[in-house]
């Protein structure tokens, strides 16, 4: 019985970490079920949504519940949890070893420091401006605006715990910088510059994942992700429009 409790803990921790890192819900459920099966729990049931996990080791057993509040994209963490769960299934590590390994991964800092993410966001913005048919003259202005917008979003997110307002602020900064650049003659095309610069912020991946979840039959997860993506896009659009619409 104690072994089952330990396995439950590992399943919940793995599921929580994957959901917080932005994994698809069916992958989360699959991973939890595999770990449970490897620990000898044959009839485990898991139900994951983007905002919470339910897990029970059998039909007549107690069920565990966990709320997921923070969600971001962290592919490195997903890859690590995946490796650990593979090791459990292959019987290379015990459940208690897995628990301490997962805890260590959970506390690890992101691989890339914030300044590097901001630089990357800048390059992404500039590149997308060119990909959407912009002129090379707009590359550096879009890069600066996109980097500033992303940095603003990260900073806002750190100081205030308000979802969607950080994206609004990021969009606001992008619009502000783009308008300033065009006014002083540093950039040429306002619209292409803004479209490139908002790319690091927009929830493109969430939209696609939402549709994939819907098509896979995970209706609750699909709808909630779609609504989240819509609200994020709305926040960014409103942020940009506040500047561009009133200049």
């Amino acid at each position: 019985m104690e072994k089952a409790a330990a396995a439950e803990k590992v399943c919940m921790l793995a599921g929580k970490m994957m959901l917080e890192s932005g994994a698809e819900t069916h992958r989360v459920e699959d991973t939890m079920n595999r770990i449970a099966a490897a620990a000898g729990l044959e009839n485990a049931q898991s139900y994951a949504t983007p905002t919470g996990i339910n897990f029970s080791i059998g039909a007549a057993e107690l069920s565990n519940f966990m709320r997921i509040t923070k969600r971001s994209m962290d592919l490195h963490k997903i890859a690590e949890v995946n490796t650990i769960s593979r090791k459990i299934v292959a019987n290379e590590i015990t459940i208690s070893e897995a628990h301490s390994m997962l805890n260590r991964v959970d506390r690890k800092w992101p691989t890339f420091p914030p300044w590097m993410q901001i630089v990357a966001a800048g390059f992404v913005s500039g590149s997308f401006t060119i990909m959407f048919g912009g002129a090379w003259a707009d590359f550096i202005p879009a890069m600066l605006a996109g980097g500033a917008g992303y940095a603003g979003m990260l900073g806002f997110d750190r100081f205030f715990e308000l979802r969607f307002l950080a994206e609004f602020f990021g969009g606001f900064l992008i619009g502000l910088f783009a308008v300033i650049f065009v006014t002083i003659g540093f950039g040429l095309n306002l619209d292409q510059m803004i479209t490139g610069a908002v790319m690091p912020l927009v929830p493109g991946m969430h939209i696609t994942n939402a549709i994939r979840d819907l098509l896979a039959g995970h209706l609750v997860a699909g709808v909630s992700k779609g609504v989240e993506a819509m609200l994020t896009a709305f926040a960014i659009g409103a942020g940009v429009a506040v500047v561009v619409g009133f200049v």
Partner: protein, 147 residues
């Protein structure tokens, strides 16, 4: 020249998204290559006069196939390559544009763009699912004789 610019920028964009999404550092160049391949196929098809939705679907299929291969070769979960490979194709920019038009009271354009977002996202999802079908077929009916 335009093609070279597109190749270079899409590589930078896809691997840059790898950094934003905190992908494992040694997998970044694969992410960039997959994203580049998908974008170039999309770009070529659109230049040939194909409508954007089917072009996106075909590009997503290519991305999905390359993703499956990379996931097998490098023993990394599919989502790592998937996210940064598909990112040049996803309609994030269009979604933003739609919402901005809503805010600016241009509802006609906004609704049109929203419909396009749904279709593009659906096209990507179908492209990815198609390659999943092929993958399962290969698993169930192996071409090679089992040893």
């Amino acid at each position: 020249m335009v093609i070279i610019a597109q190749l270079a920028t899409s590589f930078v964009a896809a691997s840059g998204f790898g950094i934003l999404f905190n992908a494992p550092a040694q997998r970044l160049w694969q992410c960039g290559t997959i994203g580049m391949a998908g974008w170039i196929l999309y770009y070529g098809l659109v230049q040939q006069g194909m409508y954007v939705v089917p072009a996106t679907t075909f590009a997503a299929m290519l991305v999905a196939v390359m993703t499956q291969i990379c996931a097998k070769v490098y023993k990394t979960p599919i989502i790592v390559f998937h996210v940064s490979g598909v990112i040049p194709l996803v309609p994030g920019g269009v979604a933003y544009d739609a919402m901005r038009n809503f805010v600016e009271n241009d509802y006609n354009t906004a609704v049109q763009l929203s419909a396009q977002v749904m279709l593009l996202a659906g096209g990507i999802a179908i492209g990815l699912m198609f390659s999943e079908v092929v993958n399962q077929l290969i698993k169930k009916f192996p071409l090679k004789q089992k040893r």
